[in-house]
């Protein structure tokens, strides 16, 4: 949420020191208006940096697509974890999935 950065003189996230992180987070505006404003803010920054230019590159859209792919992977992780090939960081202990499908080969 980056609402009210200029009028209130609040620092950006990169300028906040590690110790001040808690108080900085407390000062941020978490009202629905503030949330909406920050979403809009972020959208505008991304749009004007990568898309609203004369000669844009593939990066503008590609980053969005990669982000979408990553996000959908995260949402599907629970379902996908049934297809794991080994468990518990131990390559010697295979999962049921790998036993069944590798045995079938």
């Amino acid at each position: 949420e980056r609402d009210g950065r200029f009028p209130l003189g609040e620092k950006r996230l990169m300028d906040v020191k590690l110790g001040e992180l808690g108080s900085w987070l407390g000062k941020r505006d978490f009202t629905p208006n503030g949330v909406l404003a920050s979403i809009r803010n972020g959208h505008d920054r991304y749009y004007n940096k990568y898309i609203n230019v004369k000669k844009g590159g593939i990066g503008g859209v590609a980053m969005l697509l990669v982000g979408y792919v990553a996000l959908s992977y995260m949402w599907e992780y629970d379902h996908l974890s049934e297809y794991r090939l080994w468990e518990y960081d131990d390559l010697r202990v295979p999962t049921t999935y790998s036993i069944i499908h590798l045995k079938a080969l």
Binding site: F6, P7, D44, V53, G56, I58, A62, M63, Y83
Partner: protein, 259 residues
């Protein structure tokens, strides 16, 4: 790939909503959109930037590389990427399944397509944009010329309006002339009427005098004629005869002298 503005039409409805909300809530933030947020702004809209934010290999923003350069040099982010990849694969945070192979095939095709056809599509999109800009420019130029022409016409009309004074003078002269003519006509009429009346009076007087004269003459003649008695008539006739005889004698005498 070049500009994708023409293909990102789904952004346009959002963009139309954004300024209205923005002008209601946000203070004016300078580095944001190129639309005027307050109704009082007089400055011209700044031009679009030529190139967007740089990305390495299309998906990683250049800022990451710049961030890590002082500490790790040029290969830093790549090592970070390799390490992350190894971690993800070994801990099975990314699970290799049938979709991995599909993703790899699609990725290869996409990258090949982009590498091969990118510049052509970019040129085509740029050409489309050029045409749009040119059309807008034509409209603007046309508007400018028509407005300049309108300004000239207005100035001409103002110059014409100054000439109205001369028109008014001419009209005033006309009116004065009409009045003068009218006055003179009436004066003439008055003179004629007065003269006619005076002439009538004069004629009347001469008539009177003439009639009196004639009447008097007739009366005198009549009286004289009636006063001539017969006696007077005889004596006058005898005298006339004797006068005639004398005259004849004189004439004869003259005639014999002449011969």
């Amino acid at each position: 790939m070049g500009t994708l503005n023409s293909t990102l039409k789904f952004y346009m409805p959002v963009l139309t909503i954004v300024p209205t909300i923005k002008s209601a809530c946000l203070p004016r933030l300078v580095q944001l959109s190129h639309l005027h947020t307050s109704p009082n702004s007089q400055a011209p809209v700044p031009a679009l930037p030529e190139k967007g934010g740089k990305t390495r290999h299309g998906i990683i923003p250049e800022e990451i590389f710049q961030l890590l350069y002082p500490k790790t040099g040029v290969t830093g982010p790549y090592m970070l990427g390799a390490g992350l990849l190894t971690y993800i694969l070994s801990k099975e945070i990314y699970i290799i399944n049938h979709e991995t192979f599909a993703a790899a095939c699609m990725g290869t095709v996409i990258i090949y397509g982009v590498r091969k056809f990118g510049p052509d599509v970019a040129a085509f999109a740029d050409k489309l944009n050029e045409e749009k800009v040119q059309k807008a420019q034509e409209v603007k130029d046309l508007a400018m010329t028509s407005l300049a022409q309108a300004v000239l016409d207005e100035k001409k009309e103002q110059w014409r309006a100054e000439g109205r004074q001369m028109l008014f003078d001419a009209k005033r002269n006309n009116v004065a002339m009409l009045l003068e003519t009218n006055r003179r006509e009436r004066v003439h009429m008055v003179t004629n009427e007065v003269k006619k009346r005076l002439d009538y009076q004069i004629a009347l007087q001469t008539l009177h005098r003439r009639m009196e004269q004639e009447h008097m003459v007739n009366w005198v003649e009549k009286n004289v004629v009636t006063s001539i008695t017969p006696q007077q008539e005889k004596t006058s006739i005898a005298k006339c005869i004797t006068d005639l005889k004398v005259l004849a004698k004189v004439q004869q005498a003259k005639a014999t002298v002449a011969i």
